[in-house]
Amino acid sequence: MSDKQFAKSCHLFKKIGKRCVQGKKKRHVGIRPLSDTCCCGRLKVCSVQGDRETCARMAHMGVLPGSELELVCPNTGSQCMVKINGSTLSLDHIAATNIMVTASEQG
């Protein structure tokens, strides 16, 4: 997914009246929490925030800075479903908020 698509799809979401944080904060196009991403596609993990144990657990599951994931079910601001390293992970809102992502270069 390109940067443009990344921003545009979420902006469209806002237009049809759905909740989408990206739509409200259009200026932060580059990096955003996974929980605010409301369009399916490939994304790159920029950083993982939260306490040490949370970061470690994410790292063991393969959610590491620089790794790529595919957002399967965004569920707009709530829990979401991502594919990473061949497996599907379900993340709740807190976990998804801790993962900062940006558009993937692979598209």
């Binding site: 470690a56 790292a59 063991h60 829990q79 061949g86 497996s87 599907t88 379900s90 709740d92 976990a95």
Partner: protein
């Protein structure tokens, strides 16, 4: 046997360890298509090539840095029991993630064989895995298998035997973690070796890595053993952690994990995995998920599936339930004809046949319900239910991982609170874990199911499936509200993030479904034939003794004589009918007096002063007391309490008809009793389990008190309001 090989099955959750364990040992351990089914180690054995194999199935774990109780079980077993061989069950269709744990086994120097499971699934996705090449690169045997069908399992066992015969030692491999961490490891490993810090159990470098990874258990053991040295090492680790956090914004464990994944990728890129055809980036599972877990469609589909389950259960089990009822009525009448009058006859008919028969009569319903649940579980849909429920659970202060314990406990009716309480081990936060294990007994377990079916069948028979569906919804609502209450009061605290791996959808095998259905139904039947039988006889004795005093017996005898004499003088069919009615009324009065005089009757009557606020009479009190031993006993005790004094077993009526005709029961009372049974104190075994899992009897007693008070208040509210409106 002399040649015994101790074997452990380890791997990621849902990699197929238990399936392999069942295939090897012939056991029927529960296998489900969602992670976290196995939370404690299971043992079994088999024979191969003159060797006896003692096999342990360990809970699934993603890493050897233990974050939850069930992960600790796996690591502690591997380290403390030193199995001869560890079979690392790896999901071939998801190699990269699964080899992450393998890399940690290699670092630990575990005697390892990799069982490359589900190669058929990998092939269907176009992946061809060169097992020999993989084996050559990581230095341990790799055997492709399909645990479901047993393909390749013999070759795997041959490899185990060869490994033990050759007495091959596995040396820990040395992974590089980047300059910052490697530098610290170079400094601390000699210190660990020099002071022998935990080196009797673990390799020195591994201890160093765990200290860097901030592994709480290893740190705690090390601090107990050598506090000063440990503190020095921790200070060094802290320095590098601060440095990494400041410069790269990550903790050492992330860097370590990154390098492990790098190691795996470097192996896989050496033509270990080739893709025959480029499949879709999203597999069928992902496509299904897009619909099934859709924000709006998902909950609708879930509600339809659950309602369909109840409809299927109650529509198709009806005729079999009737057949079971007729069988027990026949047994009752046969016992009545064959046995001489007296306490033995009373015990056999009222204690055993009515008691156990009442419970066994629900076997068809249980069987159909379990079959439906097995389909949902084996297909992977239950994991999606957990995903969808996660958001709701957070609102009530629980955790996404709490969903599975709730489902296991009977969230879709028919589970059991004991494994449900144990399943809370997957939760890391102590508060969320406690809130979950205190509220899972509110679910409609398999033991409550027949009681609910009985009461609903007696008073709301026209809409049985609908009422059962609402009973399930009510159980969820009350459990979640109770959890919220606990999280706002005694268990206040922040929520922890939830991450769960979702298994792919799989077609359940008919054999697997039958095994699941049978194992659960058999457990239910076995309980009915053992524990329930024992408790039924005990309660029958409590409901029969002490006997009526001689004076009262004589009084009833005299009344019998009087009735007989008065009707002898008159002739005709009408007078005969009147005589029988008068006799029946007298016998009923006598039975009631006997029951009131018995030990159980006295307890029930003493409680009635309070329970009548909820419309619950003294006979139901006896059943509810019995329900504390096991919920199934409620039915058997009601069966006994309402069958004592029945004169003609050939005219024996089913318990639900007896309840429906009883003057003390009506739909409002039934609803109050139903709610009380759903939510009052958990059964004794669950209480013990709560004490064990929470580590304190305080929480076990809290559970009894809290649940009973809540249930009673709800029942009083329903009865009082219902009576007022009626």
């Amino acid at each position: 046997m002399e040649n015994v090989i101790h074997l452990a099955l380890a791997g990621n959750p849902n990699a197929g360890k238990t399936t392999l364990f069942n295939f090897l040992t012939g056991a029927r351990q529960h296998v489900g298509n969602y992670p976290g089914i196995t939370v404690e180690q299971k043992e079994g054995c088999c024979i191969h090539d003159d060797f006896g194999l003692s096999i342990v199935d360990l809970p699934g774990t993603y890493s050897l840095t233990a974050y939850s109780a069930e992960e600790l079980v796996a690591r502690d077993y591997l380290v403390n029991n030193n199995p001869d061989v560890v079979i690392n069950v790896v999901d071939a269709s998801n190699l990269e993630r699964n080899l992450y744990l393998t890399s940690q086994f290699l670092e630990l120097g575990t005697p390892l064989i990799i069982a490359l499971n589900m190669v058929d699934v990998a092939e269907s996705r176009g992946f061809v895995i060169d097992a020999e090449k993989l084996s050559e690169l990581i230095g341990v045997p790799v055997v492709p298998i399909v645990a479901r069908s047993g393909k390749g399992v013999n070759a795997l066992l041959d490899q185990v035997v060869t490994m033990v015969r050759d007495k091959k030692q596995t040396e820990p491999i040395l992974l590089r973690y980047g300059s910052d961490i490697d530098q610290v490891l170079t400094q601390i490993t000699p210190v660990i070796t020099e002071h022998g810090l935990l080196t009797s159990t673990y390799p020195a470098r591994w201890v160093g890595v765990k200290l860097l990874e901030n592994d709480k258990q290893i740190i705690s053991i090390a601090q107990e053993e050598q506090p000063e040295i440990t503190q020095q090492l921790l200070d060094q680790c802290e320095k590098v952690a601060t440095h990494l956090k400041t410069t790269a914004g990550v903790y050492p464990e992330s860097v370590v994990a990154d390098h492990r994944y790098g190691f795996i990728k470097s192996i896989l890129r050496q033509n270990v995995v080739t893709q025959k055809f480029v499949g879709d980036r999203l597999y069928t599972s992902d496509r299904i998920d897009k619909i099934v877990t859709h924000r709006f469609l998902g909950p609708l589909i879930m509600a339809a599936v659950l309602f369909g389950l109840y409809y299927f259960t109650f529509t198709f089990s009806g005729s079999l339930v009737g057949a079971f009822e007729s069988t027990f009525a026949f047994l009752s009448s046969t016992a009545n004809n064959l046995l001489p009058d007296g306490p033995i006859k009373s015990m056999v008919i009222s204690g055993i046949i009515d008691g156990v028969g009442g419970v066994m009569g629900f076997v068809p319903i249980i069987m159909f319900m379990f079959f439906g649940i097995a389909i949902l579980e084996d297909s992977g849909y239950l994991a999606r239910v957990a995903f969808m429920m996660d958001r709701i659970f957070h609102t009530f202060g629980l955790h996404g991982s709490s969903v599975m314990p709730f489902i296991v406990s009977g969230g879709i009716a028919g589970g059991c609170a004991v494994p449900g309480v144990m399943a809370t081990r997957t939760l890391r936060s102590p508060r969320e874990r406690l809130a979950t294990l205190l509220t899972v007994p509110f679910m409609n377990c398999g033991a409550k199911l027949p009681v609910l079916t009985l009461i609903i069948g007696a008073f709301f028979a026209d809409h049985q499936a609908v009422y059962m569906f609402f009973a399930t919804l009510l159980a969820w609502m009350v459990a979640l509200c109770a959890a919220k209450f606990l999280r706002l009061t005694v268990l206040r605290g922040e929520s922890t993030p939830f991450v769960m791996e979702l298994p792919p959808y799989r077609f359940p095998t008919f054999r697997g479904l039958l095994i699941h259905t049978w194992e659960r139904t058999w457990q239910y039947m076995k309980k009915a034939g053992t524990v329930i039988l024992g408790i039924s006889i005990l309660l029958w004795a409590m409901m029969t003794y002490p006997s009526l005093p001689e004076s009262q017996v004589a009084k009833f005898e005299q009344q019998h004589q009087e009735i007989a004499t008065s009707y002898q003088k008159t002739d005709g069919e009408q007078s005969e009918q009147a005589y029988e009615m008068a006799l029946q009324e007298l016998q009923s009065q006598e039975a009631m007096t006997r029951l009131r005089h018995s030990l159980a009757g006295r307890i029930g009557l003493a409680m009635e002063n309070l329970t009548q606020l909820a419309g619950i009479d003294w006979r139901t009190n006896i059943a509810l007391l019995g329900g504390f031993a096991a919920k199934e006993v409620i039915i058997s005790t009601l069966g006994t309490a309402y069958s004592l004094g029945e004169v003609d077993p050939e005219e024996s009526t089913p318990l639900k008809v007896r309840l429906a005709e009883d003057p003390n029961w009506n739909p409002v009372v039934a609803l109050a009793v139903l709610v009380f049974i759903m939510f009052y104190a958990p059964c004794f075994v669950t209480v013990v389990c709560i004490a064990k899992e929470s580590g304190s009897w305080k929480w076990a007693f809290f559970s009894i008190g809290f649940n009973t008070t809540l249930a009673f208040l709800m029942a009083v509210g329903i009865f009082q309001l219902g009576t007022m409106l009626a």
